[in-house]
């Protein structure tokens, strides 16, 4: 049995808002990145611009449940939504257990929503390589909002900040003391902070967060608010939506949205370039060369590692082909 992934047929159906076609095009850009150019050539810049919201936070803080809760309200307001939910890939087997959908059963059948789960597939930073490409597909499909939910993150996985216009960092009661809150990384990328599971307390974190945010010397004209929610009962979710829309308006009025959009593409351009250079390097530097260096390092030359890599690299002659 042959599965149908004919790009021309899929594009034709996609343009008629066929979700089956959208799903299969996503499979193509995720599994066969070389098809992406061919697919994207069917769209032009006049396609819809979606508003991109990023949701991040540690494992189990309620990201998916909160996405479910606030998507419901956006849907009630007639908005269309494309969700991308990322869960981690096993570094040992390459397998993944994607469980975000379980929290979104409520909204999954709404005609104006599309949910796709993604495995991170070795990509660092809390998202996956295909997230950017899928966000472009959602834009072409005409989604009003795109919601990107990261894997459960630690302190330094905040690539979502490069793609989303509004980044929401979710915390829960028991996060840590005032020292934790001063740390760089995940705790500084939020445009909105949520303390979820408010039934468990968390007022102390809100106070610490408010103090930290008041002290912040980086000025973007936006003071990130802190919202308390209970994603299961829906308490506080209307407040969160209000803050999201308020931030959206702030970006639009201050022209910062243009900056965010530019940044989103610059981030991808840089990644695409590194990937091209990586491929060229891979083809030019042989396994033997690498083995020689590793062996020398082991044979008492560990302090020459920088020199040896530099020498190897200076002998490489670059020649780029468009297909790389």
């Amino acid at each position: 049995m042959k599965r149908n992934y004919d790009i021309d047929v899929l594009i034709e159906k996609f343009k008629k808002k066929d979700k089956i076609a959208l799903a299969r095009l996503i499979t193509l850009v995720e599994n066969n990145p070389e098809t992406t150019t061919n697919i994207f050539n069917n769209f032009d810049s006049s396609e819809n611009d979606s508003y991109i919201i990023g949701i991040t936070g540690s494992p189990g803080v309620g990201k998916s449940t909160l996405v479910n809760a606030f998507s419901k309200i956006l849907l009630e307001n007639g908005k269309s939504i494309g969700i991308i939910s990322v869960d981690p890939t096993s570094p040992f087997t390459g397998g993944a257990f994607l469980g975000d959908r379980v929290r979104m059963t409520d909204i999954s059948l709404h005609p104006n929503i599309f949910i796709r789960s993604l495995a991170s597939r070795g990509y660092k930073g809390g998202i996956s390589r295909a997230v950017f490409d899928i966000s472009l597909l959602y834009e072409a499909f005409g989604m009003d909002f795109i919601i990107i939910e990261t894997v459960g993150v630690g302190q330094s996985e905040f690539d979502i900040y490069n793609l989303a216009y509004t980044t929401i960092v979710i915390m829960v009661p028991g996060y840590g003391d005032s020292i934790q809150i001063q740390k760089a990384g995940i705790i500084e990328v939020g445009d909105i902070y949520v303390v979820n599971k408010k039934d468990l307390g968390g007022e102390d974190i809100v106070v610490q967060m408010e103090m930290m945010l008041d002290d912040a010397t980086v000025q973007s004209g936006w003071r990130a608010p802190v919202v308390m929610t209970n994603s299961i009962t829906g308490e506080g979710v209307d407040k969160l939506i209000e803050k999201i829309l308020y931030h959206k308006e702030h970006l639009e009025l201050s022209e910062l949205l243009k900056e965010k959009k530019k940044h989103r593409f610059a981030y991808k351009i840089e990644e695409l370039l590194s990937s091209k250079i990586g491929k060229v390097l891979e083809s030019l530097i042989s396994e033997d060369d690498l083995n020689k260096i590793s062996n020398s390092v082991l044979q008492g030359k560990k302090f020459k590692i920088y020199d040896m890599v530099h020498d190897l690299f200076s002998n490489v002659k670059f020649e780029m082909k468009k297909s790389d």
Partner: protein
């Protein structure tokens, strides 16, 4: 991996999902879902395999409804459909006639499911 209907026995579906994960597969765990939700998930996620885990005795009715809806949407042949759970051997042929690729009853070894998927996946 989905559990159609109201049947609180998650363990089987979870164990099999974990086994497939450990075999290097990406498993989207749908949990409790109705027929429409199962079909919607399978289509949106564009999965290769639909796994239905049932211990309620309603396997014939649910499987038939899932397959009918897949047919209605014109996507039945896009997927490999597997059914597992507490399912009497005498029902295996009926399920296969409906279009299920294989059925796994109590005592199944997860490695056998993995092997079957790898060998029968639709390209």
């Amino acid at each position: 991996m989905s559990k159609p209907g109201i049947d609180g026995h998650w363990r089987g579906g979870v164990v099999v999902s974990r086994g497939l994960r450990d075999a290097g597969m990406e498993v989207i765990f749908g949990g409790f879902q109705n027929v429409e939700q199962i079909v919607e998930s399978a289509i949106s996620e564009d999965v290769d395999v639909i796994g239905l885990s049932m211990h309620s005795g309603a396997h014939l009715a649910y499987t038939e409804r899932v397959i009918n809806l897949l047919k209605e949407k014109g996507v039945k042949d896009h997927f490999l459909i597997l059914v597992g759970g507490v399912i009497p051997v005498m029902d295996f042929p009926t399920l296969k006639e409906m279009g299920v690729a294989n059925v796994y009853g109590p005592g199944t070894v997860v490695a056998d499911i993995t092997k079957f998927i790898v060998e029968n996946i639709k390209k």
